[in-house]
Amino acid sequence: MLLYISKRLAATVLVIVAASMLTFLILNLIPGVTPIMILKYAFIGLEEVPNDSEIATIIERFNLNDPLYKQYFRWLMEVLGGNLGTSYVYGLPVSTLLLSKLPATVLLAATSTVFSLVISIPLGIVSAINRNTLIDHFCRLGSLFFVSMPNFWLGLILIIIFSLKLDLFPVTGYGKLEHLVLPCLTLGSGMAAVTTRVMRSSMLEVLNQDYIITARAKGLSETIVIFRHAVRNALLPVITVAGLQFGHLLGGSVIVETVFSWPGVGKLLVDSILARDIPLIQGCILLIATAYALINLFVDLFYALLDPKIRYGRGL
């Protein structure tokens, strides 16, 4: 088991290095001249046109004329030394910025995931048990509706209905429970739509298995057959999907955070990309890749907890 975890952690490090390298390269491919963008966002204002001497100062200050590999390795060495660098725009350590934005993102990601699971698992079960009945059609239509609905649009609709018309929840803000409700509903409903479908199809597959016939042949009640025998088996793929979704959200949900002005990592990342705030972008990517990889590892370990075949087999 320890060997397995350390192997996975080593792989995680490789993934993170590759991700940061790619980001670094892509930053230099996207439109917009880096020193000019930095100048506009951090120093002279968006409307101003920088002159040549200002650009030259920026290039020199941030060593932007160095070959890319040199720039990248300088950053990598700093990171290995435990320093994520200083943001060009804010003038603050990247780690400080990330840590200040992380709690909001984690809170939103966790509540949305929990909300989506609480909704989707029962719905998936009910839908599968009542296959091809009105309930099932309703669930499938509902999940198709929420899967197809763009987050930002749903967010705006929720704001219009619950904030502006009914005045139940605040439009934006952070810190109180009432601020959390609408962003959590927006993100959670889309996720729930996906997991409901996964749970439904996984349940249908499990209900076709021979061991379900065995369970029924024992004379067990349908409730016991469903909950003791079918649901646990059907949950395995759902956990994978929910884990991936959660990992995805830990990187910050850019759109929803923007719509609700949620002070999370996603919004920080978008702002830093616009400003070409390279150390901050790299820091965000580092955080996102790490979170994603660790969540994946965690999901696999959790999987092993549920599935004895993985727990005892393959010499873990």
């Binding site: 061991y211 369970a215 029924r216 042949a217 024992k218 004379g219 016991i224 646990r232 088996n233 004895p308």
Partner: protein
């Protein structure tokens, strides 16, 4: 010859109380698949008396497993069952769902085919047997556990307490088969439906499984519906044999009589295809039950077929007191 001898012994051991346990009358199990109707079991009638083992023989897809599952009403929702299933005189098909559940696992038990997929992979095997015991007996948990451990040791599963906590993937195919058997005999059922007990087992295990089934049946006087494609298993266990082809019973009689004098060309063909008898396969393959041939369902593969066989469908006729055959050109 060995086959016939064991069969003779079986017939003599046959229980003396000739009380009917299960009577199947004109059973039809149809499936609705994409609008068309598939007749998996077509007008089957048979009887199992107390303490009797009836061997139901046929190739894959002839409907023998569906027949077994029909008795327990364990088929998917698109199945339609018609006819009469009388268990100890009571009509199974008119039982409520709750009454049916009381019957399953207690009176009538299924030992499913495919031991490898018939156990819940996420549950300790002991708990899976325990479940059946607790469902039908008013036992304390500790008593039920010791009953399960007892069953395990009777079925020669080594170190029962450790096996109890094992998960299915930790067991070999033969051990899984034994766990399923423990599940089957746990509540002293009246009828055990054994579906392909030797499928996929090697020769040594096959003998072992047959021996265990035999012991189970003779110890408790349990009746069995033994569903198999393996004549040697049926010969070793069954008092009577029913041969099924394309959803119908084509021949039924005492094991020794059927083995010694097969009357239906299909039965004769099956026996000739056994390794011991020269490995002569029946030409062609069994028909798809979606599109059955006109007339006798076996005629396209039958060497004795004539005009009559292609035109009309033979009925099951009585040859002598306990031997039935569905053929116009009975072999003699």
């Amino acid at each position: 010859m060995v086959l016939v001898q064991t069969a003779m012994e079986n017939s003599e051991q046959k229980a003396k109380t000739a009380e009917t346990l299960l009577e199947i009358r004109n059973l039809k199990t149809y499936f609705k698949i994409n609008g068309s109707i598939v007749k998996a079991v077509d007008n089957v009638s048979l009887k199992i008396i107390n303490g009797e083992i009836l061997g139901l023989i046929g190739e894959t897809g002839c409907g023998k497993s569906v027949l077994g599952l029909s008795i327990l009403r364990l088929l998917p929702e698109n199945a339609k069952i018609e006819g009469n299933l009388l268990f100890r005189g009571k009509e199974i098909l008119s039982l409520s769902k709750a009454e049916m559940r009381k019957l399953r696992g207690k009176e009538i038990v299924l030992i499913p085919q495919n031991p490898s997929t018939s156990l819940n992979p996420l549950m300790q095997i002991g708990c899976q047997v325990l479940e059946a015991v607790i469902r039908h007996h008013n036992l304390k948990k500790s008593e039920a556990v010791s009953k399960v451990l007892d069953l395990f040791s009777k079925l020669k599963l080594q170190e029962p307490p450790r096996k109890f906590r094992d998960f299915p993937h930790q067991l070999s195919g033969g051990m899984k088969q034994r766990v399923l058997m423990a599940m089957g005999v746990a509540c002293n059922p009246k009828l055990i439906i054994v579906d392909e007990p030797t499928k996929g087992l090697d020769a040594v295990l096959r003998i072992e499984v047959v021996r265990m089934l035999k012991e189970t049946a003779s110890a408790a006087g349990t009746s069995m519906l033994l569903i198999t494609h393996d004549f040697s298993v049926a010969a070793a266990l069954a008092h009577r044999i029913a041969v099924m082809y394309a959803g119908e019973i084509v021949e039924m009689g005492k094991t020794a009589a059927v083995l010694r004098n097969p009357r239906h060309p299909y039965t004769a063909g099956l026996l000739n295809s056994l390794p011991g008898k020269g490995f002569n396969p029946i030409p062609g393959s069994s028909p798809s039950i979606i599109s059955l041939p006109e007339g006798c369902r076996f005629h396209p593969r039958c060497s004795r077929a004539n005009m009559k066989c292609t035109a009309s469908h033979p009925e099951l006729v009585k040859l002598n007191d306990d031997h039935f055959v569905r053929c116009f050109n009975v072999c003699f």
